[in-house]
């Protein structure tokens, strides 16, 4: 009752009539409505599509393919060429050619396979008769309110929607429908704005709220919810081709989800659309760009990334840039620019040169090819720590500060500690305590090698031969030695290596290494390359590494002493190479090390981890901490012992050399005052921990401008290796805004897109919002507002909304509110015979929207109805149930393996499901989700048996039905009708209708009697899924009701918004 009263006051026939009368007075000012009563066809909606599809391929903007130098996309040129005679169809050559029966003369030529229909020829003829008027392509002209008399603006925005819709309805002899009942409306608006159904409490609250603005209040609440932000973000993911893997052959995991969370947050805070756009296109270029503003530019990096071994990198880099052009043009301009990649656009005024000018705007990125193994991200990327990581880092940093304080104190007292200790100890104690700086020494003596060894793998098969002293290790290019606990060197620690080597011939070989070749060569090695000594110290090759190469080379077939020292400075200048006891000059091909050499890979003698095997002998290997002096190395090369230490230790501090002081400090820390050393290693470990946290933070690929900018060339036929003319950044001339300079970088591109006079941006955006609510846009081709896209069903309405949107400060929430508050939106969706005849697709909106829910919403809806849905916002993507083996079937070497989450990861909203591009989640794909390789602005909406199989048999839906059933049983209502009503209200926001009761009752009886025959089947059936339900429920009832609830989740009405 309440509902009826409420609705009548808003939808009274009086109001509608009033609106029509008011609008009738505007008719004369209203071009598109007015033209329907004049004689000539409308150029924009009727003629242009014909010309564009049938004529312009050869007589349009594309210069190269233009035939007979005739262009028909411009009136002046068509008239000048004499092709058209306005007002006289029969004298117009093009009409003559169109009507010709001579296959050599008729247009379009039969070979093009694009013949005109009788109806099209008639339209063209009528158009010429009426004067052959051209108008600018509608979407390239700024939106305007000319369709409206001024006083129309005074009305509330949502009423203006109804006025314009009513006007069109009247012209088609249709009337608006009754309002939908309140509960249906609540379910509709909840699903549209949040992607979730209303709860019973929400329904009751709304139905009992008699306030005039009850509906508006509910809308406001919905728009303020987290679920709204998720729903909006979910739609943005198709447009942004967001995924959790790289796509292409290797399809590694990536971590772009902080970008996805940025989108959620942007909607949650109702970020104005102009900022939303600007940050995603150029957040990095904003003054003092924050981390989040950089993350926003992940939008332009969401495309796939190919790491296949043999690819030509520039070829793919060009594809990524082209993808950015395609995405920006589709998402923000509603234009299909990619046609102009190979040649001038055949329909829209976009030349190939202009395409590459636009290309240039998003080409200015030093995008690095990432390697297949251990993919983190293709540079540039930023690390975006999670809230937990930020907290953990904070705690560790606090701890670090405390330890550092203590360490600082020790450091300040280090000279004193040294002097005191020296003074108070005997020579003998000093000698025993400080000993030597030797860390490891391996002599390769056959007799006692087992005794001297560290833990060697494969030591059994060692071969010995004559050495420099005693025997030596002999390697044959196949054997090698590996040890887990030898050779642990770090980039911030000084060390020295000394050894003897004798090789029979020169080539490329590794003497020793501790390196992870699969992880960008992390670690170090010492190589012989054609006799030259080469050393790599690598964090990440080649961006973070030192490489030095001696100028002198050793000769084959004789013993040479080699030594390398390094001072821990992370600079090539801190390295020394000695050959046969003499320091030698070296080249520095690489000198940008800042990171660490640490790797879990073992130390190898005689090869790298996997490559560069050595043939030859190695002897007398020594590792020292600290940098040995030239004198010491000379001694080693003569097989002498090192310079004795104790000759200097009793000197006064001020008399010590800097090297000696450093050694004294090191000894104090490590040997004299172990507590000091302990503090130092604690600091190091804590710093490492911080670095680890930083390194484990998700890597989000972002945009970063190159300086100087990259040059862009027109690419012949779009091919990466066929550059022709150089172009400067810009936009198509046809889209220039008067008085505004064309953009020359990404930030300016964003400014141009969000300029109030840009004719497309606001139209495209509001059209999407309309589509979200009505299932179809005012422009049905929401991805194409160009010459071949569809003409808007309500051009004046689209313009109104676009202008309102701009004037509101690009306020998305306000625009959605305006739409859902309209009476047009609030009509019942029931179809009548008249609708079926006059408007089967509901393009005129004589009834409310009705269409199947999206893949994600179908899932969310079922989980929400059952109560399983976990309402956690954001975070890493999750892995719900998926049939086993799908990833193995398609991944390289079958190494992909899908491991479903346990616990809450199974029950998150669909937008968080892990998206593997080469194998997207099958239940989503069944319901028309794209694979996210390219930007998709509009999903298809199909109706297939595979969808029925998913809803009937996917464990997600069986489990949801079971948990739903347990809720129904526990709802405290013992009689079956009450339970049915409860279940229906949860799923459909309405009570069960009397005529529906027998169906549910029959099913219940059938299931109950069938399960009663065999309790074992009850257990099997109730065993699907992982969530347990209360055991006090009678199992038979639960199983029977699970069948019923599964049926309810399968109803057309359940998966439909109406």
């Amino acid at each position: 009752m309440l509902c009826n009263k409420f609705c009548r006051s808003f939808f009274g026939t009086k109001y509608w009539l009033g609106a029509l009368c008011f609008l009738a007075s505007c008719l004369a000012y209203h071009p598109s409505i007015a033209q329907e009563s004049t004689s000539g066809p409308d150029f924009a909606s009727q003629i242009k599509p014909i010309l564009a599809n049938h004529c312009w391929s050869c007589h349009g903007p594309d210069q190269e393919s233009r035939k007979a130098q005739l262009r028909l996309d411009r009136r002046d040129e068509a008239l000048a060429a004499g092709a058209l005679v306005p007002g006289n169809a029969s004298d117009s050559p093009i009409l003559q050619r169109i009507e010709s029966s001579d296959p050599d003369l008729v247009m379009p030529p039969p070979a093009t396979k694009k013949p005109l229909t009788q109806e099209q020829r008639k339209l063209l003829s009528d158009w010429v008769e009426a004067g052959a008027k051209y108008t600018q392509h509608w979407s390239f002209a700024p939106p305007n309110r000319t369709g409206f008399a001024n006083n129309g603006l005074a009305r509330p925005a949502s009423e203006r929607i109804d006025q314009l819709v009513a006007l069109k309805l009247q012209a088609h002899g249709l009337a608006p429908s009754e309002p939908a009942d309140r509960a249906t409306l609540l379910r509709r608006v909840s699903l549209d704005l949040t992607g979730l159904p209303p709860t019973i409490q929400q329904i009751d609250a709304f139905l009992s709220d008699s306030a005039q603005n009850a509906y508006e209040k509910v809308v406001d609440q919905l728009l303020q919810s987290d679920a709204y932000a998720e729903r909006m973000a979910s739609q943005w993911l198709d447009l942004s081709r967001y995924a959790d893997t790289n796509g292409y052959n290797n399809d590694e995991d990536r971590q772009m989800w902080p970008w996805r969370d940025w989108v959620i947050e942007a909607y949650r805070s109702n970020m104005p659309y102009d900022q939303f756009l600007t940050q995603q296109l150029a957040g990095d270029m904003l003054p003092n760009a924050s981390l989040q503003e950089q993350v926003a530019t992940g939008f332009l990096r969401n495309q796939g990334h190919n790491t296949e071994g043999g690819i030509i990198q520039e070829e793919y880099r060009i594809e990524y840039v082209a993808d950015r052009v395609h995405t920006v043009a589709t998402v923000f301009l509603g234009l299909s620019m990619q046609c102009a990649r190979c040649h001038d656009h055949k329909i829209d005024p976009i030349s190939q040169a202009e395409y590459y000018q636009f290309f240039s705007l998003v080409n200015n990125l030093e995008e690095k090819q990432a390697s297949y193994s251990n993919f983190v991200g293709a540079e540039p990327f930023v690390r975006v720590p999670t809230a937990e990581q930020i907290q953990e880092k904070k705690e560790v940093a606090t701890k670090l500060d405390a330890i550092k304080l203590q360490l600082d104190l020790k450091e300040k007292q280090i000279e004193q500690a040294w002097s005191d200790w020296i003074a108070s100890n005997s020579d003998r104690t000093i000698e025993e305590t400080l000993g030597t700086s030797l860390i490891d020494s391996i002599d390769f003596e056959e007799t006692n090698f087992q005794g001297t060894q560290k833990t060697w793998d494969s030591a059994d098969s060692i071969t010995y031969g004559p050495g420099k002293q005693g025997t030596a290790l002999v390697l044959d290019g196949g054997r090698y030695l590996a040890s887990k606990d030898l050779g642990k060197l770090e980039s911030d620690r000084p060390f020295s290596i000394s050894l003897w080597v004798n090789v029979p011939s020169l080539g490329s070989m590794a003497i020793l290494s501790k390196m992870d070749e699969g992880m960008n060569f992390r670690g170090y090695d010492m190589l012989l390359v054609n006799g030259k000594v080469e050393v790599h110290l690598v964090d990440t090759w080649p961006s973070n590494a030192i490489k030095v190469s001696s100028q002198q080379a050793i000769a084959p077939n004789q013993w040479h002493h080699l030594s390398v020292t390094y001072d821990g400075s992370k600079k090539a200048s801190g390295v020394q190479i000695y050959i046969d006891g003499k320091s030698t000059k070296f080249d520095v091909p690489n000198d940008n090390l800042t990171g660490s050499l640490e790797t879990e890979k073992p130390f190898h003698l005689g090869r790298r981890e996997k490559s560069l095997p050595l043939t030859g002998s190695i002897d007398e290997l020594r590792f020292f901490q600290g940098v040995l002096s030239a004198t010491d190395i000379e001694r080693l090369a003569k097989l002498e012992t090192l310079e004795p230490k104790l000759t200097w230790v009793r000197k006064h501090w001020q008399d010590l050399s800097e090297d000696q002081r450093n050694l004294a400090r090191t000894w104090t820390r490590q040997k004299i005052d172990p507590a000091h050393g302990e503090l130092q290693s604690q600091v190091e470990q804590t710093q490492k921990k911080i670095a680890q946290i930083d390194q484990s933070a998700p890597a989000v690929m972002v945009m970063r401008e190159m300086n100087p900018p990259r040059e862009t060339f027109i690419l012949k036929r779009g091919q990466y290796d066929q550059p022709t003319t150089k172009v400067s950044p810009g936009i198509p001339e046809s889209l220039r805004i008067e008085g505004v300079d064309p953009p020359s970088n990404r930030l300016q591109l964003a400014n141009w897109l969000t300029h109030p006079k840009n004719p497309l941006t606001a139209r495209v955006a509001v059209n999407r919002l309309w589509e979200q609510c009505f299932g179809v846009g005012l422009v049905r081709t929401s991805e194409d507002f160009g010459g071949s896209g569809e003409y808007p069903s309500h051009p004046e309405l689209l313009d109104q909304l676009a202008l309102d949107f701009i004037q509101s400060g690009w306020d998305t929430r306000a625009m959605l509110k305006q739409i859902v508050l309209s009476k047009t939106y609030r009509q019942t969706s029931k179809m009548t015979q008249e609708h079926k005849q006059k408007d089967p697709e509901n393009r005129l909106f004589a009834r409310g929207p009705r269409h199947r829910l999206s893949a994600e919403t179908i899932r969310d809806n079922a989980l929400a109805i059952s109560g399983l849905l976990v309402r956690k916002v954001g975070g890493p993507s999750v892995k719900p149930y998926q049939p086993p083996g799908l990833w193995e079937d398609v991944t390289v070497e079958r190494r992909g393996k899908y491991v479903a989450d346990t616990g809450e990861g199974l029950f998150r909203r669909g937008m968080y499901t892990f998206w593997k591009r080469t194998c997207p989640p099958p239940s989503m794909v069944s319901f028309d989700a794209p694979n996210r390789e390219v930007c998709v602005a509009r999903r298809s909406r199909t109706n297939t048996p595979l969808q029925a199989l998913v809803l009937m048999n996917d464990p997600t839906y069986i489990e949801a039905a079971r948990v739903f059933a347990s809720d129904v049983l526990r709802s405290g209502k013992d009689d079956e009708l009450a339970r049915m009503n409860y279940a229906y209200r949860k799923a459909l926001a309405r009570e069960i209708l009397p005529q529906e009761v027998p169906a549910i009752r029959e099913l219940l009886d059938l299931a109950r009697s069938d399960f009663a025959e065999d309790p074992a089947r009850v257990d099997q059936f109730l065993g699907v899924g992982t969530v347990s339900v209360r055991s006090d429920l009678p199992k038979l009832d639960l199983a029977a009701w699970t069948v019923v609830c599964s049926a309810i989740l399968n109803l057309d009405e359940t998966i439909t918004k109406h």
């Binding site: 089967p840 079937d889 099958p922 028309d928 989700a929 549910i1000």
Partner: protein
């Protein structure tokens, strides 16, 4: 056939194809009783088709033409010599061998022999396939611009090297619809080769629908108890209960239709019925116990091993018999960058007997005339050795020439198309580009490749983009 973007009705078969606008006049009861009037199908071919169905035996990874079908006797003498620059001729190489200093020619290790009335050469690795030479249209002059797996396989399967286009099977589902009441129009099956470690990735897009309505995407059939995802009822739920459930869902949906009058509801009711039928027809399809022993023996010893190439070949025949329009098999493991001589015999053992049996089996059932069988990979392999010359050599990717064969379905039996040079490196006679192959394939199916278009983002897209020409020599009676 032209089509603008629009909502599509999924797997609806031709006979029951429901157009929204046509529904108004049809009584619901008639629809549900399956008595819906036949709506003029959109699925009309451009001319009389020679083939109605396709089985595509895709060899993923790039099988070497030099070891299988492109016999090059001079290679024996050239073995170990450097590939002349005049032959390589600035060829774009993959990143895997572009750094190589030497390009030593390597002769295949296997013996070749001539077969059939046209004297086609086959290596000893494919005796069964060789025995059906007279049925085959052999093309040794296929070529592609792509030199890496992802772009090459994407090109072969979608007509474009880059992601985003509909796959071949999706185009056919869109263009020809389905003949089966209770099976998808486009089915995909995957088998894993016995060769070691040479599996490249397969990608969802290879059987995806691109910008076509997603109902045209391929449906994966898998070995095991659930050939189609989510086909099986949950454990403990009996068929009688499922039937009862569907009856009640149907009734409730009917009531909703009476209230709402939306034809989509009628379509939903039909889809649920079809799902129920699929639940019965798929087990019937995959249960091969009704195959006579003689047939099983034809396909070889692995035919009973679920998921093997042999089992998939037999399944492909059973599918086309039941009206599946396009059966896409993938056999993985042909990417022999190394150890080619030890791996390729294993791969050939996997495929040889089953695929020959498939062709013979189709023929003996009278199905070969209107069913085309296609065999081939995404590219061929280089005549030069990857890395230094070794006994167990490898070959890199090679797009300039590779070999394929087709049988039945309008292709000319016994045809030998194209020639390559003495190195098996360049085409010397009648190059067949992928676009040409696609154009010819569509032609055999009764479609003009220039007319099979779909309007998306303002452009009429084709499988063959703006290229492709019919190769008359490949077509029967042309």
């Amino acid at each position: 056939m032209k089509h603008r973007d629009s909502d599509a009705v999924g797997l609806a078969p031709r006979r029951g194809f429901l157009k929204h606008s046509a529904l108004g006049a049809v009584a619901l009861t008639e629809l549900l009783a399956g008595k819906a009037p036949v709506v003029a199908s959109e699925h009309q071919t451009h001319f009389a088709p020679m083939a109605k169905r396709v089985i595509y035996l895709f060899q993923s990874g790039g099988p070497s033409q030099l070891e299988l079908m492109d016999y090059k006797p001079r290679l024996k003498d050239l073995h170990g010599s450097e590939l002349p620059e005049s032959i390589r001729n600035g060829q774009r190489l993959t990143g895997m061998t572009s750094g190589q200093k030497n390009f030593p020619v390597v002769a295949p290790k296997f013996k070749f022999q001539q077969y059939g009335s046209n004297g086609a050469w086959f290596s000893e690795l494919l005796p069964h396939t060789a025995s059906i030479t007279d049925e085959l249209c052999i093309v040794r002059s296929m070529n592609t611009e792509a030199i890496n797996h992802d772009p090459a396989i994407t090109f072969m399967q979608t007509g474009s090297q880059q992601p985003g286009r509909p796959s071949l099977g999706a185009w056919l589902s869109y263009g020809l619809g389905s003949e089966a009441e209770d099976l998808p129009a486009f089915v995909v099956m995957i088998s894993h080769g016995s060769g070691n470690d040479a599996n490249q990735g397969l990608l969802d897009r290879l059987w995806g629908s691109g910008f076509l309505p997603s109902s045209h995407q391929g449906v994966k059939f898998r070995s095991g108890s659930e050939p189609v995802l989510y086909l099986s009822d949950p454990p403990g739920l009996r068929r009688s209960v499922r039937r009862g459930m569907l009856d009640q869902i149907g009734k409730l949906n009917q009531l909703e239709y009476q209230r709402q009058q939306d034809p989509e509801i009628v379509s939903r009711i039909k889809q649920y019925e079809m799902a129920f039928k699929m639940q019965m027809s798929v087990p019937d399809l995959t249960d091969i116990s009704d195959e006579p022993q003689s047939v099983l023996e034809m396909y070889g010893p692995e035919v009973k091993k679920p998921g093997s190439y042999a089992a998939n070949c037999l399944m492909a025949r059973r599918m086309v018999e039941r009206g599946v329009r396009f059966v896409q098999l993938y056999h993985r493991g042909w990417d022999n960058h190394g150890s080619l001589p030890s791996n390729i015999p294993k791969q050939c053992r996997d495929i040889d007997q089953p695929q020959a049996a498939l062709v013979k089996d189709l023929k003996q059932r009278g199905l070969l005339d209107d069913t085309m069988v296609i065999w081939g990979g995404e590219f061929g392999r280089t005549v030069y050795s990857q890395g230094s010359l070794q006994d167990d050599y490898g070959r890199d990717h090679h797009g300039r020439c590779f070999s394929m064969w087709m049988a039945g379905g309008g292709f000319r039996p016994g045809a030998l198309i194209g020639q390559t040079d003495d190195y098996g490196y360049n085409i010397t006679e009648q190059p067949i580009h992928i676009h040409d192959f696609h154009a010819t394939l569509l032609h055999c199916l009764g479609m003009d490749h220039e007319k099979l278009t779909y309007r998306y983002q303002g452009r009429d897209f084709r499988l063959t983009d703006v290229h492709g020409k019919l190769v008359a020599q490949m077509v029967r009676n042309h």
